[in-house]
Symmetry: C2
Subunit: 686 residues, 2 copies
């Protein structure tokens, strides 16, 4: 390590220590140990331009070990991103741009929100997938407009998490050679040393996944530098660089102990540590001018890289004008003109249709109209109906050693390679969700992923981060109730609708028929401020007769009056239903009308969209004067009290399901016209 490198590395360390100390809260040990490798990566390899943090062809850097946030903030500050010393001094304070864990959006240069372990690793695999897809789709000979790497710093904890294991297995399968993970192997976790519980051979495990693995001394800048260079040359396999580091490096009493993990060093130990670094002991947030000059060199390098790319883009625009338009539209996050012009609509005479099938037909249309819609399922596409036929399988063309050549055409038809748009996530729901978020935050693609609604449970930690970081991700969740039948309670969702509705910034839509499904997809494609979950049936549902009922466009308002009692008078009773239960409500409405009861049926595909409407609209749909209300949804009753009120009734499911044919289960659980009618009469006091 040269003196200047040493100085720069210690600057990163000391800024991190000081910020944690001032906040009286945080994780100093990780930045102290990982500073050398982060320094080498950021100053010698990372292709980025701090002045253009949204440059689409920048390398992506993910701090999966999000608790080491001060490492990232120090780097962002020193390399010239829009972050000030004052921001560092406000680490972990109300309203600051330097929160406890990195949050995408809090300041430029934070690619994803991390903290919950393993998630950043999964996001990074998504970014590397997006990069390969964009490169395969848009690059042309002599015009490599997409050509970047994804780098990760991951901790012991990240690599213990199942989501990282799933993502690593898929990354190996896909030969994502542009993904390079620096594993900060400090052998210390929050509660002790890893030999207590993590004695596996991580390198060997990653080799088994098909990764290229190197072992280095994480303190040796030259060794780290060489390992990254080697990893970049190895383009057919993702790389894991196992860097042996020391948590709390330089702290005389806390290095290599778990005490350095999650709390400030303390005043005296901070002083001693600075002494060990040869730092002025009483300084705070001190950045030596010489170190700053060294970091500033990176700005020029970044500006030059960005300029070169802009010139390349100019050449691309000239040579491939149409492609360039499409590429720039994708990068800008705009949908193609007329993207929804060919979305289908359905009439009842086409016969009943499961909403999963209606969704499949929408995907077929969108696959043609929106070229950057990319997605797949967790090994369930024959059931979720989410295959984009003829659009190819996203696969590596690399022939594994001694392996067979992959077919030139996959199941989906079309190309088999990185330009394929159907991703086979495998039975890895959690990684799928983390990957989708990474793809969305990479930008220029619109990702979707499918599985059964029950298995949204497996995805939940990643869904939450997608919601928190406002990722434009579309989840397709089929088999949405006890109506799925024989597979039984392990597969029948009950509490999932309530659980997902309770999550902030999650938009859930459960359409009632094929036409509402079309509308749901239309909304999902345009909703930019967070994930959207589409909740679809396995079983067939009647297509509602829109000549007699309100138009499906009402879906966009979350809830709408499908059919009312005779005009001009308030109904006596409101039946509120979602998804498959809307037809049931209509059946009951017919029966009740025959018996002289004036009822209204409200289709309510989305609570969140409804709550976003004006008070007037909401009052018009659910007039406060009508107290007799019945909600019907084959899921937990939890939360429905809000809409039916104390005098209403909820037809829901508050126990686990049962294995039997769908219609049998539905009937046993009270989802029959008879039961709805009887409940309505009880509510009306008749």
């Amino acid at each position: 390590m040269t003196a200047i490198d040493d100085l720069c590395v210690n600057t990163i360390r000391v800024l991190s220590i000081d910020a944690v100390e001032l906040a009286a809260s945080g994780h100093p040990g990780m930045p102290m140990g990982a500073a050398p490798m982060a320094y080498v990566l950021w100053t010698r390899h990372l292709r980025h331009d701090p002045a253009n943090p949204k440059w689409v062809d920048r390398d992506r850097f993910v701090l999966s070990a999000g608790h080491g946030s001060m490492l990232l903030y120090s780097l962002l500050y020193l390399t010239g991103y829009d972050l000030t010393l004052d921001d560092l001094e406000h680490f972990r304070r109300w309203g600051s741009r330097t929160p406890g864990h990195p949050e995408r959006g809090s300041s430029a240069g934070i690619e994803v929100t991390t903290g919950p372990l393993g998630q950043g690793f999964g996001n990074a695999v998504g970014m590397a997938i997006a990069e390969r897809w964009l490169a395969a789709t848009f690059n042309r000979p002599d015009h490599p407009v997409v050509d970047h790497w994804t780098y990760v710093i991951a901790s012991d904890g990240d690599l213990m998490e199942g989501v990282a294991s799933e993502a690593a297995s898929l990354a190996g399968d896909l030969h994502l050679g542009r993904l390079i993970v620096l594993y900060d192997a400090n052998r210390i976790t929050l509660s002790g040393t890893t030999n207590i519980t993590f004695s596996e051979d991580v390198g060997a495990r990653f080799q088994a996944y098909g990764w290229h693995v190197q072992q280095v001394d994480g303190l040796d800048l030259g060794a780290v530098d060489a390992a990254i260079a080697t990893a970049r040359v190895e383009k057919s396999r993702p790389s894991l660089i196992v860097a042996r580091t020391h948590i709390g490096f330089g702290s005389p009493h806390k290095q290599d102990t778990f005490e350095a993990h999650g709390e400030p060093l303390g005043k005296e130990e901070t002083r001693l540590t600075k002494r060990a670094y040869g730092w002025p002991e009483d300084s705070a947030f001190y950045v030596p001018a010489e170190a700053q000059r060294k970091f500033d060199e990176g700005r020029e390098r970044g500006a030059a890289l960005y300029d070169a790319w802009r010139q390349a883009m100019d050449g691309y625009r000239t040579a491939h004008a149409d492609l360039a338009v499409e590429f720039e539209r994708a990068v800008a996050g705009r949908l193609p003109p007329q993207w929804d012009a060919k979305l289908p609509s359905y009439t009842p005479h086409e016969g009943p249709m499961a909403t999963r099938d209606a969704g499949g037909k929408v995907i077929e249309v969108l696959a043609a109209a929106v070229p950057n819609l990319v997605g797949g399922s967790a090994d369930l596409d024959p059931s979720t109906r989410t295959m984009m036929k003829g659009k190819g399988d996203f696969q590596s063309r690399t022939v594994p050693e001694g392996g067979q050549s992959p077919p030139t055409q996959g199941e989906a038809g079309g190309p088999w390679g990185y330009e394929g748009r159907n991703i086979h996530f495998g039975i890895r729901e959690h990684a799928m969700a983390a990957i989708l978020t990474g793809m969305a935050h990479h930008g220029a693609v619109i990702p979707f992923g499918a599985t059964f609604l029950t298995f949204s449970d497996y995805m939940r930690p990643s869904i939450r981060l997608a919601a928190l970081s406002e990722a434009h991700v579309i989840y397709v969740w089929t088999h949405d109730s006890i109506g799925l039948g024989e597979d039984g309670p392990t597969h029948q969702p009950i509490e999932q609708l309530a659980s997902l509705r309770a999550m902030p910034n999650m938009l859930l839509i459960r359409p009632a028929d094929a036409n509402e499904t079309v509308e749901a997809w239309r909304i999902a494609m345009q909703h930019r401020s967070g994930p959207v979950g589409l909740v679809l049936t396995r079983q067939k549902l009647p297509i509602l007769d829109r000549t007699k009922l309100a138009a499906a466009a009402g879906t966009a308002r979350g809830a709408y009056v499908l059919i009312d009692a005779e005009k001009g008078s308030l109904p006596e009773l409101i039946l509120i239903a979602t998804g498959s239960e809307v037809s049931l409500a209509l059946g009951a409405h017919g029966r009740l009308t025959g018996e002289g009861v004036r009822s209204r049926v409200v289709s309510m595909p989305s609570w969140e969209l409804f709550e976003a409407q004006s008070a007037e609209y909401r009052e018009a749909v659910l007039p406060s004067g009508v107290h007799a209300r019945v909600s019907i949804e084959a899921g937990s009753s939890f939360g429905w009290g809000h809409y039916v009120g104390p005098t209403g009734a909820i037809i829901g499911v508050d126990r686990f399901g049962a294995s039997a044919p769908g219609p049998v289960v539905m009937a046993h659980y009270g989802f029959t016209v008879e039961h709805v009618v009887a409940t309505a009469k009880t509510v009306l006091g008749r």
Copy 2:
């Protein structure tokens, strides 16, 4: 394969095919491929007595690939469990004992509920842990009363799931040599062949975890037999037997295709398959007498094994009377006499205390009083306060090759070995939850596991199966709200309370102070019909003055009146709060009383317990005549409408949290006495 073995294997296959065919739903391919290895395991190795399915020292068998349920039902029927041909004929029908996926409790011999992939694998690791702990704790020289194996059949899908990866890593670390996994490597998943997405070297991966790995032809009974025998000899490492099999074996048109996975073969293909097996083509549910005789031999073997164990127990009772009493109490699931006599109680003069700390003190007492309380955390025990001091670390004493000898005393103090009671789950929340369920269903231990409440999301699929299968598991979830402060929104739970309450059969308790925490633990120890989640704070809370307020014993009723307006008249207003917000409600009550408002404070630690009370009690606590109600809980408002009604107000959190010191965040989010008072006045119209 001898002719009789061949006949027996085909009997298993054909029963499975016929049941799926009659149900017109199910998964025939897996039983057809895995029948040979299952047959060898069940007839030559599995120590079980079908007449005594609850024998504590039986080998455990887990069908992690739960979709192959007919394999298990066929085996249970043929080997003499309480299951009839009629039961098989009612596969997947309403009320049958043979549901679509195996459900613990639906018939004898089903150890755990499986179907969602990876879960059974994790459960099995829990069973193997329980076995080793019980053996180390209760066995004495010449008296090995606990001495059994745990066997698993797992599929490609199981081994793709992160939960299985986490569990496998821990099993390797713990040297669980009594765990033997037969990996049904049929290379086919629901949507295609595994080479599309699962090209990793699974065997090498498991070796990296520290497992003993063998490769066999799954059709070769002798090879499978030998591999199991070898695995049993290898006692210092868990074993993975990679058995190459063929999904839908014998089906002329569907073998080795994903069409054999999830739907009936069809009438004609069934006929052709039976022909290939040399079976009467028009038979249904046909069991050759010769095959049944062969299976019946196992009954005698089982009875002999059980008798030998009973005799061993008699000897143990004589030699080690006290231990035997303790062992039999543990097996019976009874708590020791006076188990809760020493639980602490607290007075306000002891100063404020975080409920996580109160929980820690309870655990200390219970650790001494209940010797079979075994548990740990997902690498967070310094934060969750769940270490049982002096009770040792659950670790293997095996010295890894070339490795260092483990310390003789771990962090917890006390023994370092399988008799240690503190399990270090590592940063593997999902596996922890699956393991806890396996431990509970193994029996004779009371397991608990701890992490932050936010990370209950990682555990969710396993929590759900614990709830469905009524496992007695205790979850300790600390850092229960935005009150945790600086770590920010990634760590601050918002929707978790609502999400867990929405889950059927999940009991959640969020105590308001140290004394309610004691009561919560008392309930958790005795609740036998499903998991209990204890939700505890990071921040300190005042200890409520029970000389002026109702006793904490009210916790058991879910909600109780803590303090009321003057006697004899109904209050004007009810403040309902849980956990840390109860003190806030009391503060507001004091302020309101000073202003002449008659308010009641209800502490509501558990919705589920409250809903289980009589209508009279519930009316007494929340009189329907009092419409002015305010709920206060630092979590999603979702569902609170049920208790506050349309004229009430909910003080909750319906957006993500923020990184700042806890009190600052709480104040910004409206959790102040001032805001509660103001809200109350609004509700009262003043």
